[in-house]
Amino acid sequence: MIGLALRGIRRRFAAPVPREVLDGVDLAIGAGEFVALAGPSGRGKTTLLRIIGGLDSGYQGRIDWPDGPPRRRAAVFQDPRLAPWLSVLDNLLLVAGREAEPRARALLSAVELEGREDAWPGQLSGGMQRRAALARALLVEPDLLLLDEPLVSLDHALAGRMRALLAEYWQRHRPTVLLVTHDLREAVTLADRVVVLAEGAGQVSLQRGIDLPHPRDPADPRIDAIVDALLRFDPGLAVAEKDEGEPADHA
């Protein structure tokens, strides 16, 4: 069953230098499928995510929703996008309404922010804000979940726990997920399918289904093998591991 189908998506940016960021992307994503868009920055991953999320209408091409557009959308953006004048809890309730408070509190403790419900976002570290943004996205029980580097500034152990939370959430609720990540191992650990946009071409250059059973262990040698195979196909993917990623958050 198809959730959405991208047909010939093109997006041109005029500044700083005119260029085709996306130049004919064709991609079908199944309803309830978990797809990872992997690769280094500058390949149009975020642009594609914004187009699917309805935030960028300057594209050419078509998006088809065979079962109709998603009823509830949610996203974790690259920056947390919390309103600084609302408490952490109120930031969550903003998207889901007052009656969602018990679930909001439960999700905040699931992302290890228990006791921070009444804090202002400005009092939290970057990593905590990002986890609040993750909780906010899961709170609306979306059927389309867009994730743009959601775990990037978390330290290793915390990122692992959040990844497990995300995997478990997806298994239980089965939203359609599009995850943008520069981290190939994260992509392979979480997704049904890894999609790579080609360097400079603005098109899908590689797709690889991942049919390992859940729950998956990132240290599984089979994941190593898939990551190695992806790297052999597109060595450019390895660069991402070094040049992206913000300073780790140790709070």
Binding site: L55, A83, V95, W120
Partner: protein, 260 residues
């Protein structure tokens, strides 16, 4: 650092308040001396003005007229804030509307208050509605101009976020748009309150049978300078009290998240 700074700031505020009172006392003293030197009925000393204020208070005309004027100020002020904020947000968020109506706003901002008042009385009659509309119409353009600037500077990433999550419009207005406009709205409210009551006095002077403005005209007819000054000072005190006990606490509440 922050812990040490707090008591220092508090004592600084106390010092400032005392200096403020002291400067008022100096002004009163200068006035007293000038009045004694002049020795003329057109410049009564502060003691005489205070006595006049007390007399008008006991007679009941001062509370009555001040209450009427204050009611007009508050209604006109509220109408101007509501109308001005709504139009300001619309102009700040839509380039088309802004281009269409920017010229109108410039005209409205430059319209002399006296012209609006006279036209309102001519068009709507010498009644309460005309008076309040005249004041609101005078005040609203400034609110529009200030909130338009605020609405232009709304945080784009947050607006995208609520768009993607399809947050209901009313909730976006209450929880995302208005909090960001709070500094603009406070600026508009503060400048607005002062402006509004000055215009209300003119409106009353020109076409109302009561209120502070009307009283001042009667005092003028009888050359009762003490009465004019007594009414004026009491009304200024009322406006300052609103500023101190309503607007400032509101401002602090709106900025709570900035200094956690």
């Amino acid at each position: 650092m922050a812990v040490d700074a707090a008591p220092a700031a508090a004592s600084g505020a106390t010092t400032r308040r005392w200096r403020w009172l002291l400067s008022l006392a100096i002004l009163a003293a200068i006035w007293q001396v000038a009045a004694m030197l002049a020795g003329s009925p057109v410049l009564p000393p502060p003691t005489e003005v205070a006595a006049a204020a007390w007399q008008h208070l006991v007679d009941g005309d001062l509370p009555y007229n001040i209450a009427l004027t204050l009611a007009r100020v508050l209604v006109a002020f509220a109408a101007a804030m509501l109308l001005g904020t709504a139009i300001g947000i619309a102009l700040g968020r839509s380039r088309l509307l802004d281009e269409l109506f920017d010229g109108w706003l410039v005209i409205a901002l430059n319209m002399p208050a006296l012209v609006t008042i006279v036209l309102c009385y001519v068009w709507f009659g010498l009644n309460e509605w005309a008076a309040v509309i005249a004041v609101a119409v005078n005040k609203a353009p400034l609110v529009v101009a200030i909130t338009r600037e605020g609405a232009r500077a709304l945080d784009r990433p947050l607006l995208e976020m609520v768009q993607l999550f399809e947050v209901p419009r009313g909730r976006v207005l209450r929880r995302i748009v208005l909090p960001q406009l709070a500094p603009s709205l406070m600026a508009a409210a503060r400048s607005g309150l002062a402006l509004t009551w000055k215009i209300v006095l003119v409106v009353e002077l020109l076409g109302r049978p009561n209120g502070v403005g009307f009283q001042i005209r009667s005092f003028f007819n009888f050359f009762d300078i003490a009465g004019i000054l007594a009414y004026t000072l009491v009304f200024i005190a009322v406006i300052l009290a609103i500023e101190a006990f309503v607007l400032q606490p509101l401002d602090r509440a709106a900025g709570r998240w900035r200094s956690p």
